[in-house]
Amino acid sequence: MALEFSPEKKKEVEWTLTRYPNKQAAMLPVLHIAQYQFGCISPEVMELVAKTLDLPVSRVQDVVTFYTMFHEKPVGKFHIQVCHTLSCAIRGGSQVVDYLENKCGVKCNDGISKDGKFSITKVECLGSCGTAPMMQVNDDYFENLTKERIDQLVNKWKSE
């Protein structure tokens, strides 16, 4: 069955369309809205976005595959993105990844942990170099990471 935006998301989409001189320009915002609702941009979601913007699906796919923030496959309930660029790397960024892999029970770039909670990736500079090392989890930044802080956070997420 074809997917639909929820009534609330539909409102957001309609408002978004009023902010641009043409529909295609609403591509990124509408994809963001869709990803919040559906969790990832599957082929069915691409169809919905294409229909919403009156564009061929190929245009949507072209965009989705270009930008790292759009996931074509589901990610963990807590999608962990660790910055591994220079200012973070020289303050322990790579050790953060190893530590997280052990804590969360999933390897970097290797799908979702068995409990469905975690996925881990390394990403480029997130504009938070002054508070390195850091990671982004879903929408939020976690900065000045220490082992103790990661323990606290991961334990909390495991129980949520």
Binding site: R19, Y20, P21, N22, Q24, A25, A26, M27, L28, P29, L31, H32, L53, R59, D62, V63, F66, Y67, T68, M69, F70, H84, T85, L86, S87, A89, I90, R91, G92, Q95, V96, V123, E124, C125, L126, G127, S128, C129, G130, T131, A132, P133, Q136, D139, D140, Y141, T146, K147, E148
Partner: protein, 433 residues
């Protein structure tokens, strides 16, 4: 020094419009609306403001490139993509003082007579986007946005537009393509955005920090600006107190490191600094006694760029550091131009094999040559940005070839050690707890 750009940082509820108003906010706007657009552009020229996004282009001059006889609507695009490694200053402005950004955007839009403005903010800055969105709504309610702003007849709409994770969308024409709902593939210039920009209309793209400057020039005057020009510096890496610091432009780099940031921690020694975001040539410790402004850094063989200072102590392996940066450029190359797509890939591979003990002595020349074959041969400056950290800036006396003054030659001994001994010269691990 009195804080101007970061005055609101640390004040409770600094994002709230009433708090901004209480601290003297939105006072430059009515003054600007009583000036003519030409007077405002002249003011920017007189003050000598240069772009804070990376290229340092004079802002008043850029604004005056808009064609006078083009009947199409004009657009102002605020570049908040902030993806240059080592850069995190615009985030402070947007998250802690969104109304300063909005006031700057209204004044700048009036100066260039744009009635639509988009803030293109990197997708990861979700918090910043939410704060801006809320602040924009407050500004509409108070009549600072929308139709007939403060009774002046001027009309403006601002929309926050989130990117989705691509460094190249910070390049102005990549940003334009992305805003149009496409891949962020930079365009061949000319035509420049001022003539043919977003939706085929005349467009000005400026950095967030650039666009707040007119507020302070209006409030304090051109002469004050010239005498006190404030600048944001992003200080990261091996520092006791890393962070965003406001200081007079031209503050000495060592003063920023030692006085503002509390020096290098753990009794370690300064080794190197990349002073302007990852795309500029690196400075050795002994080269760091330098004024942090456009001209002095250019003379020192580097650039102010986005003012992102990445500070490295003697626990840093320079081969590994360069490899880290080359992975970045190779990952972020949009792939349109062969020299950039292939060249960044090869730089990453060669640097990686040296770091992992599989390098050959010829690899050093190969890296310099590869960098030289990218620079100046691509659609957009990302190619140059990847080449300069490897092989320095273009040299007029060498027909534009790169001068060789960056990582590979400045730390050649370390690269050679790696190749000969198949291991790192630096043996002190960096502790992380």
């Amino acid at each position: 020094m009195e804080k101007v750009l970061t005055k609101m940082v640390g004040i409770e509820n600094s994002q709230n419009i009433d708090v901004y108003l209480k601290h003297g906010g939105y006072q430059a706007l009515p003054k600007a609306l009583k000036m003519t657009p030409d007077e405002l552009i002249q003011m920017m020229k007189d003050s000598g403001v240069r772009g804070r996004g990376g290229a340092g282009f004079p802002t008043g001059m850029k604004w005056s490139f808009l064609p006078k006889d083009n009947p199409k609507p004009r657009y102002l695009l605020c570049n908040a993509d902030e993806s240059e490694p080592g850069t995190f200053k615009d985030r402070v402005l947007m998250e802690d003082d969104p109304h300063q950004v909005i006031e700057g955007l209204i004044i700048s839009s009036f100066a260039i007579q744009a009635h639509t403005c988009y803030i293109y903010i990197r997708g990861e800055y979700v918090t910043g986007a939410k704060i801006l969105h809320k602040a924009i709504n407050e500004a509409y309610e108070k009549g600072y946005l929308g139709k007939n702003i403060l009774g002046s007849g001027f009309e403006l709409d601002i929309t926050v537009h989130r990117g989705a994770g691509a460094y190249i969308c910070g390049e102005e024409t990549g940003l334009i393509e992305s805003l149009e709902g496409k891949r962020g593939w930079p365009r061949i210039k000319p035509p420049f955005p001022a003539v043919y920009g977003v939706f085929g209309c005349p467009t000005i793209v400026n950095n967030v920090e650039t666009l707040v400057t007119p507020i302070h020039i209006i409030n304090r005057g051109v002469q004050w600006w010239k005498d006190n020009e404030p600048k944001l510096y992003c200080m990261s890496g091996h520092l006791t107190r890393p962070g965003t610091y406001e200081a007079k432009i031209g503050t000495n780099l060592m003063e920023l490191i030692n006085d503002h940031c509390g020096g290098i921690p753990n009794g370690r020694k300064l080794k190197a600094v990349i002073p302007g975001g990852s795309s500029v040539p690196v400075l050795r410790a002994e080269e760091c006694d330098v004024a942090m402004d456009f001209d002095a850094l250019a003379k020192a063989g580097s650039a102010l760029g986005s003012a992102g200072c990445m500070v490295m102590d003697d626990t840093t392996c320079m081969v590994n550091a360069l490899w880290n940066l080359m992975k970045f450029y190779s990952h972020e190359s949009c792939g349109q131009c062969t020299p950039c797509r292939e060249g960044t890939h090869w730089l990453e591979m060669i640097c990686g094999r040296i770091e992992t003990g599989r390098g050959r002595m010829e690899d050093l020349e190969l890296m310099l040559e590869t960098a030289n074959n990218i620079a100046g041969r691509t659609i957009c400056p990302l190619g140059d940005a990847a080449a300069w950290p490897v092989a320095g800036l273009p040299d007029k006396n060498k027909g534009g070839d790169l001068n060789g003054q960056s990582f590979v030659n400045k730390f050649r001994e370390e690269f050679e050690y790696h190749i000969t001994n198949k291991k790192c010269k630096v043996t002190i691990p960096h502790e992380w707890n």
